[in-house]
Symmetry: C2
Subunit: 251 residues, 2 copies
DNA sequence: CGCTTAATTGACACGCCTCAATAAAGGTGG
DNA sequence: CCACCTTTATTGAGGCGTGTCAATTAAGCG
């Protein structure tokens, strides 16, 4: 990849001031209260958490943090979609995850964050200072256990993704991807068999270890095979979900 | 892949009784006491941990646990090497990690383990019942924090691996792999620039998302380029480590 | 030493990538 | 709401890196 390509790649996100609109948060009124790590907490816990939470907004394409930044904040996505990106020095990009409302953001850092986070759409986040959150753990073990469980889940998901990236064909990757999104939407109360894709095909390509052309061609092929049906520009139906599942070779 | 190939793939591990030789453990005398999550614990903590630890031995190629098994045990590798494997229904394999002495085994499970674990060499393990370990956390928060940190580290490593599998060339993958092993050996007190590979090339291929032929050819090429030098059948020197690092495109 | 497993190498195939052209969708300002 | 421009998606032609198949050599081990 040329130096120019790197410049181009880096120009694709808005690097304007990090500061985003923010306000104190009332967790009681939170739209995703029973989806995420704050789900099912008792009144006192919710109140304490509310005290250290800061509600933030990031516009589409804004950088939430860069790979390598000091990992002193963690977040909860309450609205919108976020992509987690890793870049090689020559500009190749790997997206290691997409976050949707209810997802937790900021784990996986050693010194700094292991990935950058960027808003795919306009995004609402609930931000916590890591040290304050850890302070809270002292009296709210439940919270700590839950975060540990989230880390464990993410680890399992990461390993599934390694199987996909290392061993699956383009068609299998797309099938797996669509099914995963569909399942996540169901967990969030959406209907099964319909997926909304907030990201562009370039993001999908960088998530699945493919090129945009291969993603486009494979989607076309899945349409021809009637395994998926495009309803709007970003929404798909999965009319033969069992066949799709078979194709995805879910372990 | 044919059904026969699946049979063959599955036949490669010894499925004989899980039971392995085991004995109570004295953590004070442990050879890896200051490498892993039991490092730097105070006397009382070591003693308590010792009380629930069970020392186990697995012969080369034995299965420690299968993907999907109830994840009620966690382990610490004290000697030998372990591979973590995921399989597709048609027999394709992805190795998601290699464990060496000091490494922790058993995280990343949701219901069951997200991967199977197999002994590459004869292996010594220190086993803990998960529920007992969690019980211990109540009075030894330090231990819990440490395990959480391990989960975080593994997550960061998994994301590096996704970048490798999704975006790196065969040559870059091998370079990255050798450098990673070299760094891990240094952490364990080994000398830099020399790596010992306990696994066969088929394992390396399944770890890097390649075939054995590509692994072999790429190693030959690295030798021709004098970036690596084979001293014994399983040991390599890395005489030009900076060039290798550049090739690996470490982010 | 002899057998089995692992590694190497060559010839060829194929899936995905690259490059290029065009079409479609999305955003903006009047 | 439309015209214009930019971004995104689609599709084709051709190339390349890695996979597949096959033969041979080397290493491991009883």
């Amino acid at each position: 990849m040329t130096t120019k390509a790197v410049e181009l790649a880096k120009a694709k996100v808005k690097l304007t001031p990090r500061r985003a609109s923010c306000a104190a948060q009332d967790c009681h009124a939170c739209e995703i209260r029973d989806l995420t790590f704050c789900a099912g907490l008792d009144e006192s816990e919710i109140a304490t958490l509310s005290g250290i939470a800061l509600r933030m907004h990031f516009a589409k394409r804004r950088v939430i943090f860069h790979e390598g930044d000091a990992a002193d904040m963690v977040y909860n996505v309450t609205q919108g979609a976020v992509r987690l990106c890793k870049l090689t020095p020559d500009g190749r990009r790997q997206i290691t995850g997409f976050l949707l409302p209810g997802d937790f953001l900021g784990l996986g850092g050693r010194q700094g964050y292991a990935y950058g986070a960027e808003a795919i759409t306009d995004v609402e986040l609930c931000r916590f200072r890591r040290d304050k959150l850890e302070k809270l753990f002292e009296n709210h073990r439940q919270l700590e256990r839950r975060l540990f469980k989230i880390a464990n889940d993410e680890l399992a998901i990461a390993q599934d993704q390694m199987l996909l990236l290392g061993r699956k064909t383009a068609k299998e990757r797309l099938a797996t991807f669509l099914l995963n999104l569909s399942e996540r939407e169901e967990l969030r109360g959406g209907q099964g068999g319909v997926v909304y894709l907030p990201m562009v095909q370039e993001d999908i390509a960088d998530y699945l270890g493919l090129t945009i052309e291969t993603v486009s061609r494979t989607i076309s092929q899945l349409k021809r095979d009637r395994l998926i049906h495009q309803t709007t520009s970003h929404e798909f139906e999965l009319p033969r979900i069992e066949e799709l599942r078979h194709l995805a070779e879910q372990t």
